[in-house]
Assembly symmetry: C2
Homo-oligomer: 312 residues x 2
């Protein structure tokens, strides 16, 4: 009878690992470095060694482990094959098959890190108790993960939930990192908020605390909380775009809940004050009441979700 | 061993019924009137009677029928409960349970008609061979149905795939039927195309065959095929909105294929010439090559999809 499950979140510099009981209680968390040299050939053996060592250390027999879930920064198809993960040096890697072999046949499941984190938030985070959700990560970029009926929506080419790149603005002159113009990410990421703030500062002479210090998503929302008018204008613009984007997503997916995470979400529930007006204005009537929640697992969402993948 | 399956498509005036073998070959199709009086209380008994009569007629025993799938014009949740179908006079109706009782325990599955039609197109229509698709119905309005891993994506409140009401235009002054402003439906439906054409005719003096006859989606695309400049401008505008809308949907869902149906799609593949440029300009790179196909089942998509629901 399985008692334990491992969740692994592979990042470009560090691999996070977690040992959970099958109810999702953390037994232990630890990290190992990600060795990306030579096409990242050591990454999977390192993970396997670390897991085997942990099992030996804690005298956990193979039979007591449900399996190992792994989130990676790249598209992963339904058979657990990774199609290019540049930050790991990987081209096409049959993650599931290779890691199962390295782990002497233990069950392995693989998924895209953003999708896996969304599953983690559903299991033990801001989306607990729900079976469908859209997780939105407002970090350097805007990432997303979509869960339908308790399962990750991978998409035909692994691009399901790439909501940072939905097109929202026809009149954008600066290209997004993806090459297109007017993507959600250009207005709702930390970088996007900074850009909106710098544009606003240049466009007028209005007094603002942002004129004297660093301009970042954090300082913008700190200024919003302090009542800074210009910062509030920036927050409105950010909220207009994100609210509209989530309204569109609601019309397509109709999730039970939106869970908002990433660095920008540290500003807290004040974000919702700026997102909800345009969300409610543009969302289809059956979706206008869909609740928003903050993500709660932070950087651990990945190991939770990875573990949960194995248990489904 | 099941040999047959029934597919039922309930419309506001007519109920379409189909008897299929379990490979999806039509054995017989027929129709009965939809009796909507008294809150539509006769609709389910009429369907049950018609199916039982057909089975008696053809001497098909219950054991040879996999079940009965039913598509209805309203939201249907995952348990087969209909939440309001105004055209049928229905409030909340436990379609699955009631019809199973009327059919002496035969298996019944229910779904929203647009979603069910999408499943039909996947099974035997324009989306054959695929496991995920977005079906777009360009009729009086714009409807949609989304299939993921071979199954209908219902959404939390039955509004999954309501893509006609995604917000695309901030500067719209006329309200959509849903009450919002700037929905896809306002530009990509038959009504929307007519409106775009009338606006274009008013905005300039350019010569056009549309000035002398009826203005409709059909006459617009007939004029496009005849090289009418003003009609081509209208088609471009239509294509810009729809291409952008589908580009956004691709970034969320990442389907294997888009299947375009409904009255407007009778214009044929010429539609794609106007949709693809803005689609490819705005879609995320992993989705730019997603193919478009025309729906092929017409009004029969509903009975095919309804039957298929039972077989999953």
């Amino acid at each position: 009878m399985a008692k334990y499950v491992f969740g692994v979140d592979v990042g470009g510099t560090t691999v996070k690992l977690g040992l959970f009981d099958i109810n999702g209680v953390v037994v232990e968390k630890w990290e190992i470095p990600t060795r990306t040299a030579n096409g990242g050939e050591k990454i999977l053996p390192d993970i396997a060694d670390s897991i085997k060592a942990k099992m030996a250390d804690r005298e956990i027999p193979k039979e007591e482990v449900a399996g190992v879930g792994v989130g990676v920064p790249g598209p992963v198809d339904g058979r657990g094959i990774v199609h290019k993960a540049v930050n790991l040096g990987w081209g096409e890697v049959d993650l599931k098959k290779e890691l199962e072999a390295l782990l002497d046949g233990m069950k392995v499941e693989g998924g895209n890190d953003a999708n896996v984190a969304a599953l983690g938030e559903m299991w033990k985070g801001g989306g607990q108790g729900h079976q469908s959700l859209v997780a939105v990560t407002l970090g350097t970029g805007v990432g997303g993960g979509i869960i339908i009926n308790g399962r990750i929506m991978t998409g035909a080419t692994g691009a399901g939930g790439e909501i940072g790149h939905i097109h929202l603005e026809d009149n954008e002159t600066e290209a997004c990192g993806c090459g297109n113009f007017g993507c959600l990410e250009e207005y709702a990421s930390a970088t996007g908020i900074t850009r909106l703030a710098n544009r606003a500062l240049q466009a007028c002479d209005k007094d603002s605390v942002l004129r004297t210090g660093e301009v970042s998503a954090k300082t913008v929302f700190d200024a919003v909380k302090a009542g800074d008018e210009l910062a509030i204008e920036v927050a409105k613009k950010f909220g207009d775009y994100l609210g509209k984007g989530l309204g569109i997503i609601a019309g397509v997916i109709n999730p039970e809940i939106f869970v908002i995470g990433g660095g920008v979400s540290k500003a807290g529930e004040v974000l919702f004050e700026y997102i909800r007006p345009s969300y409610e204005e543009t969302a289809f009537h059956a979706c206008k009441d869909t609740p928003f929640a903050l993500a709660t697992l932070g950087n651990d969402a990945g190991i939770y979700g990875a573990a949960k993948m194995v248990l489904d």
